[in-house]
């Protein structure tokens, strides 16, 4: 079984279930094409509605018709078409980068414009200490500076004022509002001083043009740096999108064509040569190869693929050349679904961020009120010049408050944390799962397929008398060929692998009889054979002798022993076991070292369960658990006050996964389990559990640091700016310093979130 590549087929969203699809149509020359395209699509069975957007060259189709049929119909009508969504990922990312780059350059340019006036003005003020207006000459001089500042406001700060005005009209307020009010007030006051110096007291005839220009410059710089830092937070998703191949070599009607992957249709035959990426999901129909799937699963070893094996888009073909049949294309491929899931999760919020959301909703108007109150306090009780003090404190309060740091605190960390987890092969569904995973106190592991490989194998054949291994295994396989039981299948598989059994032998067993709770009997090649447990042997009077001890030893070693007798005499004991995954022991140890209570659940008998639990170091286990009881066991632990993680792979586990505080679906599992899971481990290894918990803890810690920092910054900064320390220190914060602090507070949050990028899943 190729490890972990089908996992992410979260719910097999094959086309027949789709209700809405958007196609990008080529060759739409005139408006009359619209009708033609819509008619062509509506004529297809299953299409409920088709609506063409001429401006965008897209058509929205509702119904159950497969994408391939829609594309074919459009091609028959003379147009090229592809799925709009699938096509856009890569291009959208490139466009976004281009747009961000342009915006960055604009901000830097505006910063230079503003600082080229602000810095000399500030130096002048620092050196001369003289920014007041007393003479007619000073009036003219400062008027020129005031007009230059106005030019800076228009050229470098227009976006703040326009944004603030539009928000205001909409009865909302944001960061633009604060900056526009702060800088605008400083400038207006200064202009009043310039024009009517007599209207203000002598000591208050001070201008603040340098503050306006400096604040605009610094905030533009902060925004530019933040934009760069933000770009780095989406590196993980960029890497995932970068995994997609651009073209595919399909074989149609005997010809091999290189076509863009968006045009690959279901059931197309696709050739992939060594060193090339697998373009879409499919099933190998020719050749064999080894494929590097580490980019999706984190599993470093290449996986062998041959006829019938599944291959996943984005993985790398290493050695051989293969042809495969496309089974999932466009946004249905596992890779596209991983990308979609990571994107959604990155934008979701853990509950811890909700308080910050509530606060941000009221933040800006509250700060405005505080600014007004602060001005009133200075006017009434402040020292002279009260007007100047009132103005400086109100401006500084407006400028220092930073709703952005608060608003960015949670989303930035989630963005990096979820991306980091995806790189380690851990898909986190949403912010809530992320937060709960960091608090897990107990982990329930399903045995089969989770701790063990999930595919029983014949481990021992201990023969008696003259019997040899091959003869016993051959007869046992013939006997069990008709059975669907996993243990029977293990015997048939083992015999097939050794070349002892093939379909030709089917039907050689006659007088087949199943003896309930004991085993089976039949006649093969004229000999009566019995296969089953010790009870069967006793009841059929077969002497087992020393072999009972052998069987017990095998059972104690986590194997399931079965007795095989021919013509009333014991011929062999065949033991079947589901091997424990290589790294299960180490991974379980990691969980236990983190203080997590690990509990195993299995439908198997007690002896086998105990043997497996002992081997992997689990002290608590529940054996012979019926599928429907699994969720009860989860609830029982929850009643004890534990925050329970449940890990499973099967359909049976779905209710338990859903009821657990965090459901983990293990990579090689079925779609059902993945749909009901909060976290999906893309590779089969249980190390993913400890990784998921570690990354969740690291992310939560990061969010807390960010939130704490942002809260403290605002809670301490605003009163400081209002001048609460003035009575003690005689100092009032300068609006320029407030501007710098504000610009760098949100940058600090983004930079701290970026530290998460350094998180490494523990080596294992």
């Amino acid at each position: 079984m190729p490890a972990g590549t089908e996992i992410c087929a979260s719910g097999d969203k094959m086309t027949p279930e789709q209700t809405h699809q958007e196609l990008l149509v080529d060759g739409v020359g005139c408006a009359s094409c619209v009708k033609k395209i819509e008619t062509a699509l509506k004529a297809l069975p299953g299409v409920e509605a088709a609506e063409m957007n001429f401006a965008q060259r897209t058509v929205s189709v509702s119904g159950i018709t497969p994408t391939a049929d829609l594309i074919k119909a459009l091609e028959n009508a003379g147009y090229g078409a592809k799925l709009a969504e699938a096509a856009s990922d890569d291009a959208a990312m490139a466009e976004k980068e281009k747009a961000d780059e342009a915006y960055y350059k604009r901000l830097i340019r505006e910063m230079f414009v503003a600082l080229s006036l602000g810095v000399p003005l500030m130096l002048y003020s620092l050196v001369t200490g003289e920014m007041s207006v007393n003479t007619a000459g000073e009036q003219v001089g400062w008027l020129i500076v005031g007009l230059m500042t106005l030019a800076v406001m228009v050229l470098a700060g227009k976006h703040f004022y326009v944004g603030a005005w539009h928000s205001f009209k909409n009865h909302s307020a944001n960061m633009d509002t604060l900056i526009a009010l702060g800088t605008g007030t400083a400038w207006l006051y200064s202009m009043v001083v310039v024009f009517f110096p007599q209207a203000v007291p002598d000591m208050a005839r001070h201008v603040y043009f340098e503050a306006t220009a400096m604040i605009i410059g610094l905030i533009n710089l902060g925004l530019a740096l933040e934009l760069k830092a933000r770009g780095r937070t989406s590196e993980a998703i960029k890497r995932l999108i970068g995994l997609q191949a651009k073209t595919a070599r399909v074989i149609r009607g005997g010809d091999e064509l290189d076509i863009p992957i968006e045009r690959v249709l279901l059931n197309d035959r696709v050739r992939v040569r060594p060193g090339e990426k697998i373009p879409v999901d499919g099933e190998v129909t020719e050749g064999h190869t080894s494929i590097d799937e580490s980019m999706l699963t984190g599993e470093p070893m290449p996986v062998e693929k041959t006829l019938g094996d599944k291959v996943s888009a984005g993985t790398l073909n290493k050695s051989g050349s293969i042809v495969f049949k496309a089974t999932r294309v466009g946004k249905d491929t596992a890779l596209a679904q991983i990308i979609g899931m990571v994107k959604r999760a990155q934008n979701s919020k853990p509950p811890i961020g909700r308080l910050a959301d509530v606060i941000s909703a009221y933040f800006v108007p509250t700060v405005m009120i505080i600014a007004v109150l602060s001005a009133l306090v200075w006017l009434n009780w402040g020292p002279d010049p009260v007007v100047a003090f009132a103005l400086v404190s109100a401006t500084t309060v407006l400028i220092i408050a930073c709703p952005c740091a608060l608003g960015l605190a949670t989303p930035m960390s989630v963005m990096v944390g979820v991306g980091k987890a995806a790189e380690a092969g851990v898909l986190i569904r949403n912010g809530e799962a992320l937060q709960t995973a960091s608090k897990i106190t107990a982990m329930i592991l399903d045995k089969t397929g989770t701790i063990t490989v999930g595919a029983p194998k014949v481990t021992d054949v201990v023969t008696a008398g003259e019997w040899n291994h091959d003869a016993v295994l051959r007869l046992a396989a013939i006997l069990e060929a008709g059975s669907e039981h996993p243990l029977a299948q293990a015997i048939v598989e083992s015999a097939k692998e050794s070349g002892l059994y093939s379909a030709v032998n089917r039907g050689l067993a006659t007088h087949f009889q199943a003896i309930s709770g004991q085993g089976v009997s039949a006649v093969i090649e004229g000999k009566a054979v019995l296969f089953g447990n010790e009870k069967l042997m006793r009841e059929q009077a077969v002497e087992a002798g020393d072999f009972v001890a052998t069987a017990q030893a095998l059972a104690a070693d986590a194997k399931t022993p079965m007795y095989f007798a021919v013509e009333g005499k014991l011929a062999a004991i065949i033991a079947v076991a589901d091997p424990i995954k290589n790294d299960s022991i180490a991974a379980i140890k990691r969980l236990q070292n983190n203080g997590i209570r690990v509990v195993m659940l299995t439908g198997d008998n007690r002896a086998t369960a105990k043997a497996v639990a002992d081997k992997v170091g689990i002290k608590e286990f529940f054996a012979e658990v019926l599928p429907e009881q699994k969720s009860q066991k989860v609830q029982a632990l929850q009643m004890e006050g534990e925050i329970v993680g449940m890990t499973g792979d099967g359909i049976n586990d779905a209710p338990a996964l859903a009821i657990a505080n965090v459901g983990f679906a293990i990579g090689t599992g079925t779609d059902v389990a993945i749909e009901s899971a909060d976290i999906t481990l893309m590779r089969g290894s249980l190390h993913g559990l400890a990784d998921a918990i570690a990354v969740s803890k690291a992310t939560l810690r990061n969010i807390k640091q960010n939130l704490f920092g942002a809260f403290i910054y605002n809670v301490a900064g605003v009163p400081f700016a209002a001048g609460v320390l003035y009575p003690l220190t005689g100092m009032l914060l300068s609006p320029v310093i407030a501007g710098a602090a504000m610009a760098f507070s949100s940058l600090t949050v983004v930079t701290n979130a970026n530290r998460l990028r350094l998180f490494k899943a523990q080596d294992h």
């Binding site: 944004g163 919020k349 108007p365 109150l373 009133l376």
Partner: protein, 118 residues
């Protein structure tokens, strides 16, 4: 001084009324052309009214280069979309029950509301 104090208090009252108490009217979006533009830090229209009980699409046109405007979230509907710059982005809404569905950017500085009437 009295005038200054009164003006200050009046200003506070105005802030409270304008930003918190005032309820803006919802714009009714045309059936065929439901476009919300994001420009200069706001959604326009920011308050929209939609019919209940039928799946429909709305389009977002982002003209604002600020990265804040890039993400559109409608938490109640578990919708999270990345909006390209200067391009229409179609967002598929399920059949909505009557109620209010806020939408906003990642940091909630850009805010809007979908109102669905009975």
């Amino acid at each position: 001084m009295l005038i200054a104090n009164l003006a200050g208090l009046l200003l506070i009252a105005l802030i409270i009324w304008w930003f918190w108490l005032y309820k803006p009217k919802e714009a009714e979006l045309d059936n065929t052309d439901r476009v919300i533009t994001i420009e200069n830090g706001t959604y326009a229209p920011s308050h929209v009214k939609l019919p209940a009980g039928e799946p429909l699409t709305i389009q977002f046109m982002r003209k604002d280069p600020s990265p804040c405007s890039e993400t559109l979230l409608i938490p109640e509907l578990q919708i999270s979309e990345t909006l390209p710059l200067n391009k229409l982005k179609t967002v598929q809404l399920p059949a909505l029950k009557p109620g209010e569905y806020p939408f906003h950017c990642q940091m909630q500085m850009y805010r809007g509301l979908i109102k669905v009437d009975k």
